[in-house]
Structures are given as structure tokens and as C-alpha cells.
């Protein structure tokens, strides 16, 4: 169909294609099986399911990573590139969360609002602008980090601390996905119950983490003259781990709060 006006951004064209495809599939399902309703879970059950999935995923991931580390060798210059990549992915994930929250504010009607009018109950995440990008970006972040570790281990250059930081990165991106799911599932239409305080907390933590990294790397570079090694020392040090843990916990609590306090349209 012709569209009046230009899609000025490539992301718009991509999202529009995604919406058209999703809507077509949704209509197809509705026409083939009008009475079909995806199963709905209670808010607590959904949250429990998600947390279980994240915990199980992290346990499996940690086990796999520990296996990988058994072939690790001493760190060398490749490790600094791995550290830089991991740090970029981590910060990108945090910024992504903030972007989603901003976007959520900019576009008030949720997918649930729209789908409810199309006859589908909220809580059905069959078509969702928030969920699919969240899952995809988390997958990309995890795969990217995993590849860095694997390549490093293949070359025998990955440090144990780096692996643990990757595990923390996994926790952060999973928490980010959880947060987005929480935002998607927030069905409260009369009151804005989403705890915006968490936005401020997450934004502050992300900024603090970035500033901490810049300061550390700047001073360490001045002392050693090697930015790569300075970055590596920050990434594998206590500071980064603490920041990541606090960020992950905050994002998880925000998601839990959002999901558990939401009142659904059709309980």
C-alpha cells in the first residue's frame, strides 16, 4: 500500500515491516481459529517463570564459561580488545534500556492497548514492539560477548576475571530484557504505576559506571601509557563488577516491581 509521507529513518521502515508482518500473521490466526486465545499466566507466575529462565540460563552459561576457562592461557594484548568489546556491549545494553524507557514514554499506547481492542487479551505477547527487539538485542549482546570469550579462549588469552564480568554482563542484559517485558506487560491504563524512580536510578548508575571507567582508564593510562591495558584492568577489576551487580539488581527489581504491581485489563 502507498504511504503518504516518507519514512525518514531506516528503523521506521524496519519497524513498519515488522508490524505489517505481525498484523498479517495475527489476522491469519484469527481467521483460521477465531476462538484461539494464547494461555495467560498470572503476574506472579510470569515473573517466576522469567526469573527461573534467567537463573537457569545464567547457571548454564556460567558452567559453559567455566568449561571454556579450563583451556585459558595467560592474558596478552588480545585480552584488552576483548575487554573493550565487552565494556562497549555492556554500556550499550544499559543505554538500550534507557532508550526503550524513553520510547515507551514517547508512544503512550502499548501493544497491549492495541491488541486488546483487536480482541486479544493483554499479556499475550504475540505481537509486540518491545519484546522482540528486547530478545533480539539481548541475544546479540550475549552472542557478541560469548564470541569474544570464545575467540579469546581459542587464542588462549582470556582471563578468568573477564569471564566473570561476562557472566555479569549476561545478568545485566537479561535484567534489561526482563525490564522491557515488565514495561510491555504493564497494563494499567488509569494510573501510571511504573516506578520512574528506577529510571533515574538506572540512568544514574549507568552514568556513574561510565564516569568511573573514564576516570580509571585516564589515570591508569597516564601511569602506564597503555590504554588497552588500563581498560582491561578496569574491566577485570572490582569496580566494574560492583557497578554491574548494582545495575543488574536495580533493573531486576524495577522489572519485578513493574510486573507485580500491574493491573491487567482482563485478569
Amino acid at each position: 500500500m502507498a504511504v503518504h509521507g516518507a519514512l525518514t529513518r531506516s528503523t521506521d521502515a524496519l519497524l513498519r515491516s515488522y508490524l505489517l508482518a505481525s498484523v498479517a500473521v495475527l489476522c491469519l490466526v484469527r481467521s483460521r481459529s477465531p476462538s484461539y486465545r494464547p494461555p495467560r499466566l498470572s503476574a506472579w507466575a510470569r515473573f517466576g517463570l522469567l526469573v527461573s529462565a534467567v537463573v537457569i540460563g545464567l547457571v548454564i552459561l556460567s558452567g559453559a564459561l567455566l568449561l571454556v576457562t579450563s583451556w585459558m592461557g595467560p592474558p596478552d594484548r588480545h585480552a584488552s580488545y576483548a575487554a573493550a568489546t565487552l565494556r562497549a556491549v555492556t554500556l550499550g545494553s544499559v543505554l538500550n534500556v534507557l532508550w526503550v524507557v524513553r520510547r515507551r514514554r514517547a508512544h503512550p499506547p502499548t501493544d497491549s492497548d492495541i491488541l486488546a481492542q483487536a480482541g486479544w487479551g493483554p499479556g499475550h505477547i504475540f505481537v509486540s514492539r518491545q519484546v522482540v527487539p528486547a530478545v533480539l538485542s539481548s541475544a546479540v549482546a550475549l552472542v557478541t560477548g560469548g564470541l569474544v570469550i570464545l575467540v579469546g579462549s581459542w587464542r588462549g588469552t582470556v582471563q578468568m576475571a573477564l569471564v566473570w564480568n561476562f557472566a555479569l554482563l549476561a545478568a545485566v542484559v537479561c535484567a534489561a530484557a526482563l525490564l522491557r517485558l515488565g514495561v510491555t506487560w504493564r497494563m494499567d491504563y488509569t494510573q501510571d504505576r511504573y516506578p520512574w524512580l528506577f529510571d533515574i536510578a538506572i540512568g544514574t548508575l549507568a552514568t556513574g559506571m561510565g564516569v568511573n571507567a573514564v576516570i580509571h582508564v585516564t589515570f591508569a593510562t597516564t601511569a602506564s601509557g597503555d590504554p588497552g591495558r588500563a581498560l582491561l584492568s578496569w574491566m577485570t577489576g572490582t569496580d566494574a563488577a560492583v557497578w554491574l551487580i548494582v545495575l543488574g539488581v536495580t533493573a531486576t527489581v524495577a522489572a519485578a516491581w513493574s510486573v507485580c504491581t500491574s493491573r491487567r485489563w482482563h485478569p
Partner: protein
């Protein structure tokens, strides 16, 4: 053909924050009930109860005997809230087609109704590029045309409309009622136009302070 019943309904957001007290009303097939009352009297809350979005603190809200929040009731009713819920990156035509197909009705009537409400052709305009009035008209068109529900629950449907548009919208609501549909709506604007209709009215009063 759907009957809405509210029996002795109380609703409070929290203890002491009573919004509705002992409300009983019904809307039968072929009938439109216009809720009136001052701001804070509970008009939107009553509509949300009828839409199954809120649960009464006590009392019962049913559609043809089904609890308002049940899956059975959902197929009998369409709720139009004041904020249009439209995908910004779908066109108006795509949106109306989506709603119509999801509810197994033809989209031709929806497009025809929209053309009567809006002077210009907006079928191929992205929803994000609509004015607030246009978006509201699209939202109203979906509510009036894109489903087979017997009961329409309309929260401030005329809020963004000009008088001539309101007359057209009233005609569409009356057409729905003539065919045996039922309507529960609230409106604080265009009182002179609404007074020309023969719709039943129910005035809500603000609950007394404890």
C-alpha cells in the same frame, strides 16, 4: 444484542477513596445511556467497570449475565477510551483493516464511515502523522465499525470533534442503536447537540466526603 447491568456497585481506589457508591443501572438492546456528572463523579470509572477493566469493590457488573471481566463478555463489547491506541507506523487504512479482520467484519463500512467524518482522504497516512482530531476520528471509526459487538462503551467520544463532526458521530451511534445495539457513553461537550437526541441520561454525583 447485549444487556449491561450494574447492580449495587461500589468502587473505591483505596479505603476512604470512594468513587462510586451503590450504583445501579442497565443498558438494554436498542438503547443509549448518556452518563452525566461533574468532574470526579465517576463517569470514566463507571465506563471502565463496564469495560471489565476495573473490578467493583462490591456489587456486580454483567453483560448478558457474564461477569464484565470474563472472556465471554469481552466479545460482546467494544471499549473506546479517550486516548487513541494506534500503531504510529501503520497507515489509517491498514489499522482499520487490521481491526476489522481481527473481528471478522468487512473493512468497507469502516472506511466509508471514516470518509464521512473526515473531509480529506487519510487512508494512506501513517497514524503518527495524524492530527489529534484525525486520530480521534479514526479511533471512533474503529469503535463504531470494526467489530460485531453489541455494546459500545464510549468514554468522551466527542471530546476532540467539531460540532459538524459530532453530528455525524451521533448519527453513527444512533444507527448502531437502531440496529439493536446498546451504547453507554459519557460526554462533557456538545451538550446542546446531545440534548436533541432521545438518549436516556443518568447523572452521577460526587460521593460525599466522609
Amino acid at each position: 444484542m447485549t444487556t449491561l447491568e450494574l447492580e449495587n456497585v461500589d468502587f473505591a481506589w483505596s479505603a476512604g477513596a470512594v468513587v462510586i457508591s451503590d450504583l445501579s443501572l442497565s443498558v438494554r438492546p436498542g438503547e443509549c445511556l448518556h452518563l452525566k456528572g461533574p468532574s470526579g463523579a465517576g463517569k470514566s470509572t463507571t465506563l471502565a467497570l463496564a469495560a471489565g477493566l476495573l473490578q467493583p469493590t462490591s456489587g456486580a457488573v454483567t453483560l448478558d449475565g457474564h461477569p464484565a471481566n470474563s472472556a465471554s463478555a469481552r466479545t460482546l463489547r467494544w471499549y473506546m477510551n479517550p486516548a487513541p491506541a494506534l500503531y504510529p507506523l501503520l497507515t489509517v487504512g491498514e489499522h482499520l483493516r487490521f481491526y476489522a479482520r481481527a473481528h471478522h467484519v468487512g473493512e468497507r463500512r469502516a472506511l466509508h464511515n471514516l470518509h464521512n467524518l473526515l473531509a480529506g482522504q487519510v487512508d494512506d497516512v501513517l497514524c503518527r502523522d495524524l492530527t489529534s482530531t484525525q486520530a480521534h476520528m479514526v479511533w471512533f471509526t474503529a469503535a463504531i465499525s470494526c467489530h460485531g459487538a453489541g455494546l459500545l462503551v464510549l468514554d468522551e467520544p466527542f471530546a476532540a470533534a467539531a460540532p459538524d463532526q459530532t453530528e455525524n458521530m451521533i448519527s453513527l451511534v444512533q444507527a448502531h442503536v437502531r440496529t439493536g445495539g446498546s451504547v453507554l457513553l459519557s460526554s462533557r461537550v456538545h451538550g446542546n447537540l446531545l440534548s436533541n437526541t432521545r438518549w436516556r441520561t443518568h447523572t452521577l454525583k460526587s460521593p460525599e466526603a466522609p
